[in-house]
Amino acid sequence: MDEMADNSDPVVREALVPPSVELSDTELVTRARAGDEEAFEELFNRHRRRVALISSRFFRQPEQIEEVVQESFTKAYFALSDFSNQQEASFAAWIARIAYNACYDELRRSKRRPESALGEVSEDEAAWLKTSLTTGESDMEAAAIARDLAGKLLARLSAEDRLVLVMLDVEGMSVAEIAKLLGWSASKVKVRAHRARASLRRVLNRFL
């Protein structure tokens, strides 16, 4: 009798559905809020690659990528009660926002750590960069040294500059999307993007 009464509660009824059945993210969030650890694990499995990809846009080391993944999901776990499907487009968008903010925090932390500096650009890299800049050939993907060099050059930018540039140039986001994601105003994003491009130009100009 009591069981029947308990089952009338939609949260309890939802929690009684076996996890093997394909549930939506919102339903999994409801179950995870009710203390269902398997539901949270399912959410983690569904979205961990997206979070790791976001993290990999900013960090090269696997440890740093994992740190952001763990930080993002830990924050999400304790903020599940704040998740509202009306405000957020989806759980994916919500966790992405948390991941970008975790990346931003990690970028700022790593800026403060002197041991995380990637070092100076070598002579070979400088010569290669100069050739690329003067000839205008942009075969960065093909060059073996391109990624290391890119990491070293971008390490000279501030965390905010780097965040905005990656969101604009890699993720292809609009100013409005970035503003919504980071909780900044649109004008702040524009100003930051302008400054970030100017900073990167100054960095590159030294190799001309």
Partner: protein
């Protein structure tokens, strides 16, 4: 005019190169896949969540203690103020009894107490004594 055009051209080239650099730096999908393929990733996450939960509990306990202190300190101050006011009012109302010392209570009489007692005994003036003697003489004479 030509200088500006050259500068603009250079800036465009630098911007274009900058975009390529940002994209090259962000092309790191293999590392991301390697991290997500780790079999113990969720186990480590659970462990981190548990650690964070314990940390939060500890912080909550501290906050509760701070809350108690936050309420207790003004309450204790209020009690002390009341006690001080009560002490003042009591001490002011019992001021006339200040001459009554513990020594007098315990019968430890000193010179002053003796003197006060004598003073009470000798309260009759010499005129009174003389008047009494004269009255006695007159009474005897009338007999």
């Amino acid at each position: 005019m030509t200088g500006k055009k050259i500068e603009r051209g250079l800036n465009e080239r630098l911007d274009s190169m900058g975009r390529e650099i940002v994209r090259a730096s962000a092309a790191n999908e293999m590392e991301a896949d390697r991290v997500t393929a780790s079999p113990f990733l969720y186990t480590r996450l659970r462990s981190r969540i548990n650690t964070e939960r314990e940390g939060r509990k500890e912080r909550e306990n501290w906050l509760a203690l701070v809350g108690v202190i936050w309420r207790a300190v003004p309450a204790m101050a209020l009690v002390m103020i009341f006690a001080f006011v009560f002490f003042l009012s009591v001490s002011l109302s019992t001021r006339p009894a200040a001459n009554f010392s513990d020594e007098a209570l315990l019968d430890a009489r000193d010179a002053e107490v003796e003197q006060m007692v004598f003073a009470d005994n000798q309260s009759l003036s010499s005129d009174d004594v003389l008047g009494t003697i004269l009255n006695e003489d007159e009474r005897e004479a009338s007999r």
